[in-house]
C-alpha cells in the first residue's frame, strides 16, 4: 500500500466509530436500570446525544452509558 493510500485509509478509519457504549435506563425510580441497547461513538459527548435521540421512546427517569470495553466477564457464555 502506498503512503497516500495509507493516509487515506487512516483518515477513513479516524471517521469510523470504534467504541461501543451500552445504554442502560429506567422509567420509574423503583425499577432497576436495565440494558436498552447500545450506541457507537468515539466521543462520550456524541454518545450521549446518540443515546438520547435513538432511545427516546419513553420518558426515562435515568439513562447511563457504560463503555463496553470496561465490562468484565465473570462467566463466559
Amino acid at each position: 500500500m502506498s503512503e497516500t493510500q495509507e493516509n487515506t485509509a487512516s483518515r477513513r478509519n479516524a471517521l469510523n466509530e470504534s467504541h461501543v457504549w451500552q445504554v442502560y435506563a429506567r422509567r420509574k425510580y423503583d425499577e432497576p436500570l436495565h440494558e436498552i441497547g447500545n450506541v457507537m461513538a468515539d466521543d462520550v459527548e456524541l454518545a450521549r446525544v446518540y443515546a438520547r435521540s435513538i432511545y427516546d421512546e419513553f420518558s426515562w427517569v435515568e439513562m447511563v452509558l457504560v463503555p463496553r470495553e470496561t465490562i468484565v466477564t465473570v462467566i463466559e457464555s
Partner: protein, 252 residues
C-alpha cells in the same frame, strides 16, 4: 371580541427571521436523515430536524398577532409564505455532511445565542419559547461540537472540506446579529425584548464557538483579548451586501 394586534415592526421582523431560519435549517437537515456517515448520526439528524421544524412551527403563529401581518396574511403561514428571511447560504442544498455540521455548529448556535438573550424577554410568547428552545439546543451544540472535532482531527481532505464549509457560513452568520446601530435590534433591546446589543450578542456567540475552533487550530479573524477576556473580531465585517429587512447577505 376583537383582539388588538401588536404594532411592532422590529419584533415582527425578528420573529420572521428566526422562524424562517429554523424552517430552512430543518428542511436542509431533513435531507441528511438517511445520509449521515453513521446510523447514530442519522438518527440524531432526524431528531434535530424535528426540533428545528418544531421551533419554526411555534414561531410562525406569533406573526398573526401583529398589525404588520395584516397587509399580506399569506406571509404568516410557512406553506404560503413567499418571503424568505433565512440566511442566503441556506438557499442551496448542503453540498455534503460538512455543510450540515457547519450549519449545526455555526448557524444554529447563533440563533440559540439570540434565544438565550430573550429568556427574560418582556414579550411573553418569546420568553416562553426561548427557554424551551435553549434547553433543546444544548444537545444540538454538543452534536455540532463533537462533529467539528472529529472532522477536523481526521485531517487531509476531510478537514479541508470542513474548514471550507465553516468559512462559507462564517460571515453571514456573524452579520445576522446586525450592525451595532441596527434599528431593529436597538428597539428590541430598548423594549427589553432581548438583553443585549448586536456587538454583545456577537461576543457571546464567539465565546461559544471560538474555544472549539481555536483548540483545533481552525483560523478565523478573531483574537482573544486577555484584558477584556473576550474573543474579538480582528477584521471588520463587510455590510456592503447586508439587507436589513431580510437580515441576510444578498449576492451583488
Amino acid at each position: 371580541m376583537i383582539s388588538k394586534r401588536i404594532d411592532n415592526a422590529a419584533l415582527f421582523a425578528m420573529l420572521s427571521s428566526l422562524a424562517d431560519n429554523k424552517q430552512a435549517i430543518g428542511r436542509r437537515y431533513a435531507y441528511w436523515c438517511n445520509g449521515a456517515p453513521a446510523l447514530e448520526a442519522a438518527v440524531a439528524a432526524a431528531a434535530m430536524t424535528q426540533d428545528e421544524l418544531g421551533h419554526a412551527r411555534t414561531l410562525y403563529p406569533l406573526l398573526e398577532d401583529f398589525s404588520q401581518a395584516e397587509a399580506d396574511p399569506q406571509q404568516v403561514e410557512p406553506m404560503t409564505r413567499t418571503l424568505h428571511y433565512h440566511l442566503g447560504t441556506l438557499d442551496q442544498d448542503f453540498a455534503g455532511w460538512c455543510d450540515f455540521v457547519a450549519t449545526n455548529f455555526l448557524v444554529d448556535t447563533a440563533l440559540t445565542t439570540f434565544f438565550e438573550a430573550a429568556q427574560d424577554s418582556s414579550y411573553d410568547p418569546l420568553r416562553q419559547r426561548a427557554r424551551k428552545v435553549v434547553q433543546e439546543e444544548h444537545l444540538h451544540f454538543v452534536h455540532g461540537e463533537g462533529w467539528v472535532r472529529r472532522l477536523a482531527k481526521a485531517g487531509g481532505a476531510v478537514r479541508k472540506t470542513l474548514v471550507a464549509s465553516l468559512q462559507k457560513f462564517w460571515d453571514e452568520t456573524l452579520c445576522w446579529f446586525g450592525p451595532q446601530d441596527d434599528p431593529t435590534m436597538q428597539r428590541l433591546q430598548n423594549e427589553d425584548v432581548i438583553d443585549a446589543s448586536p456587538d454583545e450578542l456577537r461576543s457571546r456567540y464567539l465565546a461559544k464557538v471560538m474555544p472549539v475552533l481555536n483548540s483545533l487550530e481552525i483560523e478565523f479573524p478573531v483574537a482573544f483579548n486577555a484584558t477584556t477576556k473576550r474573543w474579538e473580531l480582528t477584521q471588520a465585517l463587510s455590510w456592503e451586501n447586508w439587507q436589513a429587512s431580510s437580515r441576510r447577505l444578498e449576492q451583488a
